[in-house]
């Protein structure tokens, strides 16, 4: 049992390493295929400067040599200097942007889980009821209202018309974390509500629930103490891909609300041809996705005895 689990993890890690190599190669090829280099600017730089810069950053070497040199350094944890911001290393930039991105993602996920599970449970209590219709209708709306529509609308209403909350920033002014969090959470909240409802509906028709009901337990107690654990399995499975989705979400939300996180860095880095920063961020996000997928699988194993048996 344990060794099977270890073997599975080892296998996943091995394929993760391969995958990261692939990501690195594809990203490297893509950014070097992009027209315009990191040092191009409106004012033409002289040939001497360009040559000196290219030599300094080894951009004058053949691409494969550059790639392997990069890999060698990256394996030692050195992701190189930023081209756009000389005097900063890429790691330094990522560390500077990471707290805001992680914080935003965590709050959004927490909020989505909280509201999603509660709304899903309420809906599942009496399928077809007004509460069910309402929450599922809202959930559908949440899925169809992308962050770049919802965000500006929230800003318009709460920031501009009502002046209740700041319109941008992160951790600068009191309450400026609300709008970005809600914007990012909405879609996930909707999915989680749906999954919870579907899972609960299925669980509630199981024999053990009927037994519990006949014992006279209250509906709420049944849901909370018995049905929810099984019903949350699909939610857990969803969280893996959801974490990956949070990245895409953070691109948009960080752009709308001017949040200094790594999502916004990424867009800027792509525009600025900051090769090393693009590479590091892509690898970082890929590693994050792989990690969360693995984590979701492990949690599912822990929650679901049947999967555990299948493994051994």
């Amino acid at each position: 049992m344990n060794s099977a689990l270890l073997r599975m993890i080892a296998g996943r890690l091995a394929s993760a390493a391969l995958l990261l190599l692939l990501v690195a190669a594809v990203t490297f090829a893509l950014i070097h295929a992009a027209p315009g280099g990191p040092f191009a600017s409106d004012r033409a730089v002289s040939a001497e400067v360009e040559a000196a810069l290219n030599a300094q950053y080894r951009l004058d070497q053949p691409l494969p040599a550059q790639f392997f040199a990069y890999l060698g350094q990256a394996l030692q944890g050195n992701f190189g200097p930023s081209y756009r911001y000389p005097g900063r290393t890429v790691s330094e930039l990522i560390i500077a942007g990471l707290p805001a991105t992680l914080e935003l993602a965590c709050y959004a996920l927490l909020l989505a889980l909280l509201i999603g599970i509660v709304a899903g449970s309420l809906a599942a209590r009496r399928p077809g009821s007004a509460a069910d219709q309402l929450s599922m209708g809202l959930a559908l709306l949440g899925i169809c209202l992308p962050a770049f529509v919802l965000g500006p609308l929230l800003v318009l209403v709460f920031g501009v018309y009502l002046e209740w909350l700041p319109v941008s920033g992160w951790g600068e002014l009191a309450g400026d974390k609300w709008l970005p969090t809600v914007t990012l959470a909405a879609g996930y909240c909707a999915y989680i509500a749906r999954l919870t409802r579907a899972g609960l509906c299925q669980q509630l028709s199981q024999p053990y629930i009927i037994t519990a009901r006949s014992k006279g337990l209250s509906e709420l107690a049944i849901i909370v103490h018995h049905a929810l654990r099984g019903a949350l399995l699909p939610v857990v499975a969803y969280l893996g891909p959801a974490c990956a989705g949070l990245i895409a979400g953070s691109f948009v939300v960080e752009t709308i609300f001017q949040i200094p996180g790594i999502g916004r860095f990424y867009i800027q880095a792509a525009f600025n041809r900051d090769y090393t920063l693009i590479m590091a961020l892509t690898l970082f996000f890929a590693a994050l996705i792989i990690f969360f997928n693995l984590l979701a699988d492990l949690v599912a194993l822990w929650l679901d005895p049947r999967q555990r048996e299948a493994l051994s």
Partner: protein
């Protein structure tokens, strides 16, 4: 049961606490006015605070607070004013400048600022490894260009001499009207050698000497804090020679990338100064808060490049027809709406007393009939036979607006079809440099106030020309005749001749002259707009408006 409810309540409370309670937003600017902290919208995260690496306007603003050159500029007239040097002498032939440094000038760590600090900094500015985009500015100094091009490795041959601790002599390659203006540019600031060498090779780009705690500067402010993509804080430098008359305690620079957001921050009382103003907000401020809106002429030209290597644009008549079919007045008044001036030449009017040829506005006037006639004469009656044109611009709302307007005008007046092609900045630069375009948006912002700075990009060999247009006579005037001019009047006359040749050749389509647009908090005093859009931070002060009545 009860426990569960308590858990849920706790979770809600936790989230509320984490996100921060909802409260009426505090007004950072008001607080700042009381404490002497200036909140300054500064467009973007600076690439670097190394004066020899940074090349953007936002970087220049911060550097001008941190450093000081030999000679400054009057914030209103831009005339040279004493700064690092208390006074200077110029030889009769205009080639030799002798600067007398202030004995009381200090670095932010207390060290004295010496003539050697300037010489060393200029040596560093000429190290190609740094990739200094403004190194060419130093070429006005005798021997600097040869040193840069590594024709000799001996810096002593460059005309910079330390006569004593506080006297610096500079020998120019040729007389220059704008040399004193250059001394106020980051590339010519002095640097503190010891603190830079402490962080490794002085000509390495990746040095950390510009980080807070490491950076030693000689200006009115010193670096206090640098939070990436959030803010840069500078505080009053107690060692500055004129520290007692610096009013501000701190300046906080914000990378306000999105101008819509910046304007909202300003309106919410979070900024004293905005880097820009969204076009659609101009009317609101003009109507309700004209005192907060600052619109001023800015030394920059907005134009289109014609790729004269393309057969369809090789005929100057076609280019002229296109130039005469656009109604610049309509563009400046309806699209841009910030007091921009329609431009009929390359150089903005009144550039240090210089005016483009007086006939230019007539030559490129909006005249659809004449434009059609020109086009017909070139073999494209009613636009027939002319291949579809493509306007290339870098992705930005304002460029798109102008391009769309011009596209419509060409269609309407000339029956010429144009498509728009936007490319993201770096791709656009690459495309333009490779000459893979027909018509490309462009602009030129003056580094210093001098017409030559605008005309020299059209030299045959200039990397900034990019149109394939080359006029030997134009080159001759700028390169041979101009340096021998011995009076301002004669100089202006030569510049006008050159500009006339440029307008006859017309590798460009002048569109408008820039204005700088800012929102300025009523508490901010001492600010005056100028042609270079360059504030003098040490002369600014904040007056909380609840004290206005006392005035």
């Amino acid at each position: 049961m009860l426990l569960y409810r308590a858990q849920r309540c706790a979770a809600v409370l936790a989230i509320v606490a984490l996100l921060g309670a909802c409260s009426p937003a505090e007004r950072r600017a008001d607080l700042g006015s009381e404490q002497g902290v200036l909140h300054w919208g500064n467009a973007s995260e600076p690439q670097s605070l190394d004066p020899h690496i940074a090349n953007g306007v936002p970087e220049q603003k911060i550097l001008s607070a941190l450093f000081e050159g030999l000679v400054g500029k009057d914030p209103q007239t831009l005339a040279p004013i004493p700064a690092g040097a208390s006074h200077w002498q110029v030889s009769d032939d205009g080639l030799r400048y002798r600067f007398f440094l202030r004995p009381q000038a200090r670095w932010s760590n207390g060290d004295a600022v010496t003539a050697e600090d300037y010489r060393w900094a200029w040596w560093r500015a000429l190290q190609p490894q740094l990739g200094n985009p403004f190194a060419t500015l130093l070429f006005v100094i005798a021997g600097a260009q040869q040193y840069w091009q590594q024709q000799h490795g001996d810096f002593d041959q460059v005309g910079i001499r330390v006569l004593d601790r506080l006297t610096l002599e500079v020998e120019l390659a040729h007389p220059s009207e704008h040399f004193l203006q250059l001394l106020d540019m980051p590339t010519l600031y002095p640097l503190h050698r010891a603190s830079i060498e402490r962080h490794g090779n002085p000509s390495a780009r990746a040095s950390r000497w510009t980080h807070p705690g490491n950076l030693v500067s000689n200006g009115p402010f010193r670096l206090r804090q640098w939070q990436i993509n959030r803010r840069i804080t500078v505080e009053k430098n107690p060692h500055y020679w004129e520290a007692q008359s610096v009013a501000l305690n701190q300046i906080v620079f914000y990378p306000t990338e999105n101008i819509t957001t910046e304007e909202r921050l300003f309106r919410a009382g979070q900024l004293h100064y905005s880097y820009d103003v969204p076009v659609d907000k101009l009317r609101y401020y003009q109507r309700y808060h004209p005192e907060q809106l600052s619109l001023a002429p800015y030394l920059g030209s907005y134009f289109y490049r014609f790729n004269t290597r393309r057969p369809e644009l090789a005929d100057a008549r076609v280019r002229r027809a296109l130039a005469m079919a656009i109604d610049r007045q309509l563009i400046t008044e309806q699209v841009l709406r910030a007091g921009q001036l329609p431009a009929f030449a390359m150089t903005p009017p009144n550039t240090a007393g210089y005016y483009p040829p007086a006939t230019a506005p007539q030559q490129l006037r909006f005249d659809p009939a004449a434009a059609r006639a020109l086009l017909a004469a070139a073999g494209y009656p009613n636009g027939e036979g002319l291949p579809s044109l493509e306007i290339l611009y870098n992705t930005q709302e304002e460029h798109r607006k102008v391009a769309v307007a011009i596209q419509q005008m060409w269609k309407q007046h000339l029956n010429v079809d144009a498509t728009l092609h936007n490319q993201e900045w770096k791709v656009y630069l690459d495309t333009e440099r490779r000459g893979d375009y027909q018509i490309a948006r462009a602009s030129w912002i003056g580094d210093y106030v001098d017409a030559r700075n605008f005309l020299e990009i059209w030299l045959c060999a200039s990397d900034n020309n990019r149109t394939g247009w080359c006029d030997p006579e134009f080159d001759r005037i700028l390169l041979e005749a101009l340096p021998r001019a011995n009076s301002t009047a004669q100089r202006h006359q030569l510049l006008q001749q050159a500009e006339q040749r440029l307008l006859d050749g017309l590798p460009l389509l002048p569109i408008y002259t820039y204005t700088s647009k800012h929102l300025i908090h009523p508490d901010l005093r001492g600010y005056s707009a100028n042609l270079l859009n360059q504030p003098l931070f040490k002369r600014l002060w904040l007056q909380p408006h609840n004290e206005l009545g006392d005035e």
